[in-house]
Symmetry: C2
């Protein structure tokens, strides 16, 4: 649409398409594409049906007997609506949106709803604009929820501090569906004006508000729901989910890399009464997880393996997210709906063989069909590649003689323990220097503490992926390698490094906002796995993911003690120690 | 909201209410109202639950244990969300919207979606404005679908001829939800531009489009659904409904005065798979039917009597219409939802004992609490009371010497048969003079024919309720009484009359657009029943509703022959005979 288009011009433009759609549906004109003899999942009746599926103008127009300019025989396969991920932070894949799309199309994903929370913590609203531009016109639709909590905590030093007015204009964007996960549930429950105002404004725009409130009950949950939070993706138990479902929330059953709730929530998916309030999401998907397991197809496979009805599972994977987000022409195979198809071999393994997006073949025979990358405005691209604003550091910047808290890592978990004080590195006792270096606004803030349980024996490890503010976290066996690692990340414009004796041993540059790479997912995964191996070779324990576990050490909302750019925080009291 | 309110002013105004809601939900402040020990229907979980329901700012804010400024014990009763009628023409009740509301509140109806099709055929878009004004602020919410087919047929002479542009500005109104029943399905299927443009424009405003397509199948149904029609309320068989449900349409299960489909559609209501795509509607409710049977409560009672699950029935009666119309804060009892309650004695008889609207008691102990009538702008009120534009007629205006078609009425049906020609009234053979008198634009058009099967033996009967153009239909035993009856209707500004020998025997004035009375429903019903009795006393057969059956005789879309202002129509060929 051009901005100078008149209203009658717009109606006429749409009318011409609509008349063509009607002519094809009525059998008077040939379809653009017909899937012949297609056994498809009817998400409205909950049945498998077999007939031709006719497509015109990118939409499904008829179910019956049709002929088309292109015809593809679907005998023996099952056609599902394209899968929908109801909540994902694309940045966690460590690749650009284009490369993410290339990675998930083979898994039948045709729509995701993303919350660009990570890049917005780095770039502020320019991060939202960047992601909107970077997802425009891709062969998978990316809809947006606008980050509600930037920064995640007032103790964080992130790249931006957004109030309701900062994000207000985004609600006019056709791909923006609402306000993303309201993690600051204490702020809502305590009726904090600035926090509640974001919900009020999103409602005033008639938009959705997603929730994030693990384990909330009673008055607190009532207050949170009454405030206007319509969904939750943090349910770790069926009881937690049922409490929320009963109060009217939609349940996003999350099964991603960092958190996996499908098994616990199977009672809802299996119930003929409750499943209609459920949808699937992944929240975060790391490269190896995407490559090895898949995406929503993987969740479907797991759900059916654990006893879910296959057709109910497809309804959860397609229709329910579409209805929740008011995307009323997707998630189903019916006239007027987008011709987004995930063609699978069966409803047991959900092995995807062919994928169509708006009637265009985008994946078959193991190959994603090539597509142009979106053009990103120069000022946004420049800004996304210039997010490190800190001086070149020296070993002396990491020196510290006063006692500092020792943060204890726990194998396989992201909570920590408070292990008292240390005043020096002690490799024999696994006491390492940890630093969080402010990198957004050149404040020269460097928070210093000690880490136990990581296991590093030589050199240093650092990453600019550090939730949620994405300052640089560094753990080292000596101050010189700490400084070298942090400087290297700044040189690379972001990413992760493993260094030793002033040499880079392994690294993964993440040049987009310090969070994502422009390289393909396979290459990124390869560099990441090499870096992990290097970190383990330098001593990091096998029970620890060298970078992911580290990435949570600066998030001052997870118990028990965390390190920020200004020092160690007692999470319970929210005080500096 | 004032038109000079700033955005921040609006957000702040809503924020103040929201903070109060949160404070009450969190248990820090007293609720405005608490329904104590309330057993309520949880439409999300499909279960009965018992707890306190707390209300503040007109909304439900908490479910649990609460105290309030007002507390009402609900022990032994069942609290349902207020009932929703998904499709009704309010004009068919023959009373003003205020009086309609007074009549249905005792039945637990708190929201209706109306299509002001009748008054719009008389007054054009001013009719829509009139109905919007006449429903503003009432203790039952009236949402609107904008008439799609005015006139219903190009052969009709109605008061207006509306294209997409005429109705376009109504989509901005907060109570307008979309485009009403697209009855012109032949126009859609044949891809008629002017007809399809109305759908395209409604979609461009992100609004709903309701359907009306009895028995459509195959390519025609595909074309109709692909065009963008999202629902149907004309399903007379379960097969018809399932065909539409499978193609993605929502099914409005209609059970009103003129058409009753509940029994036929019980297989859908009883199915745990299909009921979630169903909602209830009445389409048309005449005065005696409203008084004797009730409204949506009556449909619930009948559905349960015929074997539906009671809780599924409440879900159909409340939640599903709300979700279809994107009224996302009604149809359920949960925090953030409107405090609209229909309190019933049980889920078998659905006898309503108390009704709350936005937390205000509006009905109890058999009494509707008084409410102010909406103020209707003077120009609209004047226009609604000045819709008869025709000359004073004389007997000679009804004289006709040429042969005219005899239209045959069939007992208990609204279809007619073609009985050849007559050239004079013949009471012994039940050949009566019938006339349709144009009354909108002073065109002096009077269509003349003959009617068989009505049974009138003396005088004349006339009505200004004549679908869909609402010209004056008159049937008489002599030309002088025909002229007298039509003149009397014009004097009364509309309504129905029974006359004999130049005297009014009985009459019901309908001074609002010739369709509705300002009197209470009981008085209107009383006058209507007296008029019916008078018509029967003058000979009208017992198998005939003297006015309702007559009101369809001018609708040139129902087989086989009809009389319009320009003469008799062969419905199949759409030609004048």
């Amino acid at each position: 649409m051009s901005y100078t288009e008149t209203w009658s011009g717009k109606i006429n433009r749409k009318l011409i398409k609509k008349l063509h759609i009607i002519d094809v549906a009525a059998g008077r004109e040939k379809a653009d594409l017909v899937l012949k003899n297609a056994t498809y999942v009817n998400v409205f009746s909950g049945e498998l049906e077999t007939c031709d599926i006719a497509v015109a103008e990118g939409l499904i127009v008829g179910l019956g007997s049709y002929s088309g300019v292109a015809e593809v025989d679907m005998t023996g396969k099952i056609v599902c609506p394209g899968f929908i991920d109801a909540h994902i932070h694309l940045e966690s894949s460590l690749v650009s949106p284009s490369e993410f799309v290339r990675a998930v199309i083979p898994h039948g994903t045709t729509t995701v709803i993303t919350d660009p929370h990570e890049i917005t913590n780095v770039m502020g609203t320019d991060g939202i604009d960047y992601m909107l531009a970077a997802t425009e016109g891709l062969p998978m639709d990316t809809m947006f929820m606008i980050p509600s909590c930037v920064p995640a905590s007032p103790l964080d030093e992130s790249g931006a501090n957004l109030d309701y007015r900062d994000i207000d204009s985004f609600f006019e964007h056709p791909r923006v569906l609402g306000l993303a996960e309201m993690m600051n549930y204490p702020g809502i429950i305590s009726a904090d004006s600035d926090t509640v105002a974001k919900i009020v404004a999103s409602q005033a725009h008639h938009k959705k508000i997603d929730g994030h409130a693990p384990g909330l009950t009673g008055y607190d949950l009532n207050a949170y729901v009454a405030a206007g939070v319509y969904s939750d993706h943090e349910c770790a138990t069926a009881e937690d989910a049922m409490r929320k479902l009963r109060l009217g929330q939609f349940i996003m059953v999350r099964d991603g890399t960092a958190a996996r709730n499908l098994e616990a929530l199977m009672p809802l998916i299996k119930s003929p009464k409750y499943f209609s309030r459920c949808m699937f999401c992944t929240d975060d998907k790391h490269p190896s997880d995407l490559l090895e397991k898949g995406h929503i197809d993987y969740i479907c496979r797991e759900a059916v393996r654990m006893g879910a009805d296959p057709i109910q599972t497809v309804q959860v994977a397609c229709l329910h997210a579409a209805r929740y987000f008011l995307l009323n022409n997707r998630g189903a195979i019916a006239p007027g709906y987008l011709a987004d198809f995930a063609v699978v071999e069966d409803l047991k393994d959900f092995h995807v063989v062919t994928v169509y997006k708006r009637g265009k073949l985008v994946y078959d025979q193991g190959q994603v069909h090539d597509f142009p990358k979106p053009e990103i405005p120069a000022h946004l691209n420049a800004k996304a590649h210039d997010t490190f604003h800190l001086p070149v550091l020296r070993a002396a910047d990491f020196a510290e003689t006063r006692s500092k808290v020792v943060i204890g890592m726990i194998d396989g978990q992201i909570i920590t323990e408070d292990l008292g004080y240390a005043n020096a590195i002690n490799l024999e006792e696994d006491i390492l220097k940890m630093a969080v270096v402010e990198r957004h606004k050149n404040t020269r803030h460097i928070g210093i503490g000690y880490l136990h349980g990581y296991g590093l024996k030589e050199g240093a490890v650092a990453t600019s992926v550090s939730h949620d503010s994405h300052n640089i976290i560094c753990v080292g066996c000596n101050d010189a390698d700490c400084a070298f690692a942090v400087n290297r990340i700044a040189e690379n414009k972001g990413g992760i490094v493993v260094v030793n004796h002033g040499q880079v041993i392994a690294e993964l540059p993440l040049e987009i906002a310090g969070l994502m790479s422009d390289k393909p997912l396979v290459e990124v995964n390869d560099l990441l796995e090499k870096a992990k191996a290097a970190a383990h070779a330098q001593g990091v324990g096998n029970g620890i993911d060298p970078f992911m576990t580290l990435s949570f050490m600066a998030l001052p909302v997870i118990p028990t003690v965390r390190l920020t750019t200004r020092g160690v925080i007692d999470v319970a009291t929210q005080q500096y120690i």
